[in-house]
Symmetry: C2
Subunit: 262 residues, 2 copies
């Protein structure tokens, strides 16, 4: 359950306090009603305090599992580093992320060697996406971090300043390209435009896709579905229950490979 907004009560109790906002209407309710309203308010207080305790307990569970998952994510990072073009392949195969990937950006992402998503310790207050790059012709940075601060009413974000190399400023190049084709409609945002843009950090679709979809299981996007084996071989839109099947495929593939080697 969400935490609802609250309103001030319609009472005239604060005539001598510093708070002079509520100037109406004890008289709005008769004494009996007022009494019941107070009782409801007390019960509401108990419910609110239970809600708070529930949130705290859930937070603790999430923190515990973040710690438990961490070594596996690290192990995965190590393994992934030895797969050529792992991340660029996963990005290109992700339907929503590929939608904002310009060709030259795809080229640039061949130098992307590590993706990390780290939630802040208290989880609710934000997270960061860390992209680690090999030396590359596009920028000097080896790491670009986009960080979301969600703890405040107005979420904000920051991005490592990208030190573009001369003549390879992808963001400007892409802007120039889309300006050429411009017919009034704004072109699709590029990946690096998304990365650098910190004007509106609320509900950032790309960031959330990376955090909640790509990062939890990038292998599924690295392993391309066979497009020629019909609908069933394609995307499975119904949750993650087929991971085991995926694993079996890989194991069997391995066995088959060994047999062939004999």
């Amino acid at each position: 359950m969400g935490e609802p907004a609250t309103k001030r009560a319609k009472t005239d109790n604060e005539t001598n306090g510093e708070d002079t906002k509520d100037t109406k209407a004890q008289s709005d309710y008769d004494d009996a009603t007022q009494k019941i309203l107070e009782q409801i308010d007390q019960v509401q207080g108990e419910i609110d305090s239970l809600n708070e305790k529930a949130s705290e307990e859930i937070l603790k569970v999430e923190q515990k599992y973040n710690s438990l998952r961490k070594p596996f994510f690290e192990k995965r990072n190590e393994l992934v580093r030895d797969i050529p073009n792992f991340w660029v392949t996963a990005f290109v195969n992700h339907p929503n992320i590929s939608a904002i990937l310009d060709e030259e950006e795809e080229e640039c992402l061949h130098y992307l060697t590590k993706v990390e998503v780290e939630e802040f310790d208290d989880i609710k207050s934000g997270y960061r996406i860390k992209l680690t790059f090999d030396e590359n012709p596009f920028f000097e940075n080896t790491q670009i971090v986009k960080e979301f601060f969600l703890g405040n009413a107005e979420p904000t974000s920051t991005t490592t300043e990208i030190k573009w190399k001369p003549d390879n400023e992808l963001v400007n190049k892409i802007k120039a390209k889309s300006a050429q084709t411009a017919d009034g409609t704004p072109g699709p945002r590029s990946f690096f435009a998304w990365l650098s843009d910190n004007q509106d950090a609320s509900n950032d679709e790309i960031a959330e896709l990376i955090k909640d979809d790509l990062w939890p299981n990038p292998l599924q996007y690295f392993l391309v579905p066979d497009l020629d084996d019909g609908a069933e071989g394609g995307l499975d839109e119904e949750g993650g229950s087929e991971n085991d099947e995926n694993a079996e495929d890989l194991e069997e593939a391995d066995d088959a490979g060994e047999e062939r080697e004999d």
Copy 2:
């Protein structure tokens, strides 16, 4: 973290199995890569199983607090019953719900004596909204239940059949009204149209507002803000941290009332 969709691996291992979907490309990866992919898949399996355990633990926390909250919700229901027009007032004061409330529907909701929201035991699979009515000129029912089944890929919902009394079928009346004013634009849905409509149960905005906003704290909507004391006295859009303030107002109001009686 969400549960991501998965894809099948691009392997050619299933030549003699019943599964003939995967017919490509052991050859897509060299043996070393294939080995690493299998290791990644194993790590992914561990991550997935931790995700599952985390979900289960969170579910248990939610179930525990649903039980703990229950007696307070029941107590609240009892108290609310003694406040005249509590629910209709809360509905009318809720900005989004009032937006679909026709005048005659508002009249009808004066007979609404109880609102209950019950999540199913496993929470994720759905919830029901129970509306209890006094005898009234509009329909024979004393209870109307709208129930959401969210466990399946395609969420569904059901509503108690409303036994309208002759000449008081609000839904048809409102349809007729909006047809009169019709200029091609569809009129706003009415509350009873929402209640009876089970064509699309996914992301039902009104149902979710009732479940996650009105039901957790209806008092805040019953207690109208003083509209004439400026912006600060109005809606507070920033979460529920002002419940205590609300409570204080009520307590102080009570003291003031007692003093006056002396």
